[in-house]
């Protein structure tokens, strides 16, 4: 690490005592770089064993890495906490301005301890930390509006992040998200509910300091290499052009697009929800996370008339990406983009994870069709494929929780199906609602084994797509290796979309400019160590790979490689852990 680099400074915030202090943690940053590597150690230190995830003693850790503020694409913040959804590791990544703001405020990590008696938001401006009363913001209908209010009230426009929760987080929905810069999210595993249980409405962080580099000339050379690869090669083109929504048509074509609660793996109306259609009819603006030349954030401009007055319109900007299109679109049989966008808008405004919400609603729709639940359970809401108005009502009810059924839905599809039945089509893996890929057995091995139960942990979908024939052992081993390498990227907090740019040799060079000497081999080893550490935490908190539930549905619907069998998937899970030297 370069002398004078503020990276090892960890800001501790105690919400109960309204106190903050800084500790130098060179021990952690020198060894584990930052991001996921440092956060898992801080989480282990801070999180009492077996704590209820919705007890304020559950800590929140935010961590960034050495390349932030120096190189393009080092733009993510890693959040860690104990997940209220899965009961073990909660880890969620977001971009926006969060990473640069934390780093340039002078910190490598922020640890939030305890809970506040009254709603509070914390404003961190460089060295100064303020505890601001947020009781007036608590219960506000719109998370957009909360962002707007704080934006007007706090300094640092352009160099700040405003990480906030909506009503879903306040009401402790276990898949509530935390929103940053309006359109980016710590989406998965329920960080929003952990904010909520601490009565923490938002965190504002701003900073614009300088960072030392050891050799300015060399620094500029490595910078240019990364910049050129990102801007002039084809590596980032997909994200730049149509964005992740470009996935809709190819996945549909190969019969890997989960549709109507995965009763089908292709959707006859996929065209209407494709990235191409959305761009043609709705794309209003593209924006970028700080220090990302690609700008994959696609905002749809939805122009809507007010029903009560002629020639009176509003235009709202709504972000879209592949995963929300899958979860709130194809999974719910949404036949046109307008309906999807309206549903997306309310999910954003209320502060839910779009992916979990879509999977939960898809399960409810099927359970209702099959008579496992009744209209009494759904408080009279008739959920039907494609009927966005009924889904909007159901989203409201997940948050307001008018009866036991919606209280159960607020705990996730695993919990709801364990009470009401229909587990065979309740699409959660390791307790987390599934992502939008039915590409073959490897993606499911990945959802079950990944430390976050995310498709991005080990990219099983990519292994399925690129590998013609494979054994469960080959898949499990490959996923363990991929996930290990990704620990390095998420410790540097490089966006996974730039994984083609940040190959091991270039990572080593970039780290050099930040004052770290690590060979490719050392990096690979470190990745394995960090992943094993995460699994140790998961197991400490009750994750047991031998007891993983595999919903029968995934074996009933054709995938690109043919029918998926449970036996294949379980063998793959074993191989994954064997590769990491862990038991099943």
């Amino acid at each position: 690490m370069n002398p004078g680099d503020p990276l090892p400074r960890v800001l501790y915030i105690d919400l109960e005592k309204k106190r903050s202090w800084v500790e130098e943690r060179k021990d952690l940053f020198e060894k584990y770089l930052g991001g996921a590597g440092v956060a898992i150690h801080l989480l282990e230190e801070e999180c009492p064993k077996g704590v209820d995830p919705l007890d304020p003693q559950n800590p929140i850790v935010f961590a960034v890495g050495p390349l932030v503020g120096l190189f393009p694409y080092a733009s993510k913040t890693v959040a860690m906490f104990k997940s209220p959804l899965t009961g073990n590791l909660g880890e969620s990544h977001a971009g926006g301005r969060s990473a640069t703001s934390i780093r340039l405020a002078g910190y490598g990590a922020i640890v939030i301890r305890g809970g506040s008696e009254r709603p509070v938001y914390v404003a961190i401006h460089g060295d100064k930390v303020f505890f601001r009363d947020a009781s007036a913001l608590w219960g506000m209908r719109s998370a957009y509006a909360v962002g707007r209010v704080i934006r007007e009230r706090e300094p640092g426009a352009g160099v700040r992040a405003i990480i906030r929760i909506g009503r879903a987080g306040e009401k402790l929905v276990r898949y509530a998200c935390a929103i940053t810069e309006t359109y980016r999210h710590f989406g998965r595993l329920g960080l929003g509910a952990v904010f909520g249980c601490k009565k923490l409405k938002a965190i504002v962080v701003s900073g614009k300091r300088s960072l030392p580099v050891s050799n300015p000339k060399k620094y500029r050379e490595v910078y240019d290499e990364i910049f050129e690869l990102g801007v002039r090669s084809e590596l980032m083109k997909k994200y730049h052009d149509l964005g992740t929504a470009a996935n809709v048509l190819p996945l549909n074509e190969m019969k890997a697009l989960p549709t109507r609660n995965l009763s089908s793996s292709s959707f006859e109306k996929a065209e209407a929800l494709s990235g191409e259609e959305l761009a043609r009819n709705f794309l209003g603006r593209r924006v970028a996370c700080t220090h990302c030349p690609t700008g994959c954030i696609h905002l749809a401009a939805l122009r809507e008339p007010y029903p009560d007055e002629p020639y009176f319109y509003k235009t709202v900007m709504i972000t879209y990406d592949y995963e929300p299109i899958y979860a709130l679109g194809t999974m719910l049989g949404m036949e046109d983009a307008r309906g999807f966008l309206k549903l997306m808008d309310i999910v954003e405004d209320i502060g839910l994870d779009a992916m979990s919400t879509g999977v939960v609603l898809a399960w409810v729709t099927e359970a209702l069709q099959r008579g496992l639940i009744t209209l009494e359970d759904t408080a009279g809401i008739e959920l039907r494929w494609g009927d966005y108005e009924s889904y909007i009502k159901a989203v409201e009810a997940i948050v307001s929780q008018p009866n036991h059924f919606f209280e159960a839905l607020a705990k996730g599809v695993d919990y709801a199906s364990s009470h009401y039945g229909g587990e065979e089509f309740a699409l959660a893996f390791g307790g987390n609602e599934m992502p939008g890929y039915h590409t073959g057995p490897a993606c499911y091995i990945g959802y079950l084994t990944g430390a976050r139960h995310s498709h991005l942990d080990s990219a099983g979908y990519s292994f399925d797509e690129k590998t013609k024939e494979f054994s469960p052992e080959e898949a499990g081993r490959a996923l363990a290796r991929e996930e290990s390498w990704r620990q390095i990227l998420s410790s540097l907090v490089v966006c996974f979309f730039a994984r083609g740019v940040y190959r091991p040799a270039l990572v080593s060079k970039a780290l050099n400019a930040a004052g770290f000497e690590l060979s490719e081999e050392e990096l690979q080893k470190l990745g394995v160590e960090i992943l094993r550490k995460k699994h140790a935490f998961k197991r400490r908190e009750g994750y047991d790979p031998a007891k993983l539930r595999i919903p029968k549905r995934i074996t009933e619907v054709e995938a690109p490689h043919g029918v998926i069998t449970e036996e294949f998937v379980r063998k793959g899970v074993e191989a994954y852990f064997e590769e990491l030297g862990l038991d099943v």
Partner: protein
């Protein structure tokens, strides 16, 4: 001939701030403390971005208000600030209607673009161009 950075179309800006990091890097640093170009949203990123940089005025008001003559005019338009003379009073910052003079918190002095055009090279979206001052006037 005097050159300057022209904002071709701020609506093309995606808010990536690569220009800010470029400016600081030009001075041999990471971060953005030394950046003399500044990007912020117009009240929410969905509304687009303000791109703030010295436009190299022919008759710069900042130079007129400096009480210690730290700001000298450049032939053809624009100014330069002598950090040894600058006393950090902030009058120039208040006077510039664009907010294009930047307060450097680390040195407690005013700084302004020196018209090198380095940031333009790193704008991936065609927001900025490096041009002759004359070209803009006519």
């Amino acid at each position: 001939m005097a050159k300057r950075v022209l904002i071709v179309d701020s609506e093309r800006c995606v808010g990536c701030q690569l220009c800010m990091y470029a400016c600081a890097r030009r001075w041999g640093e990471g971060g953005i403390a030394k950046s003399m170009i500044y990007i912020r949203s117009l009240g929410g990123i969905e509304r687009g971005f303000a791109v703030i940089i010295c436009r190299a005025c022919e008759d710069p008001p900042c130079a007129r208000v400096c009480p210690v003559d730290a700001i000298s005019r450049r032939e053809g338009g624009g100014v330069s600030i002598d950090p040894h003379k600058c006393i950090g009073c902030g009058l120039c910052i208040e006077t510039c209607p664009f907010g294009a003079i930047i307060w450097d918190e680390e040195s407690s002095k005013a700084r302004v673009c020196n018209y090198c055009g380095y940031c333009v090279r790193y704008c991936p979206h065609g927001v900025l161009r490096f041009v002759e001052v004359e070209e803009v006037v006519t």
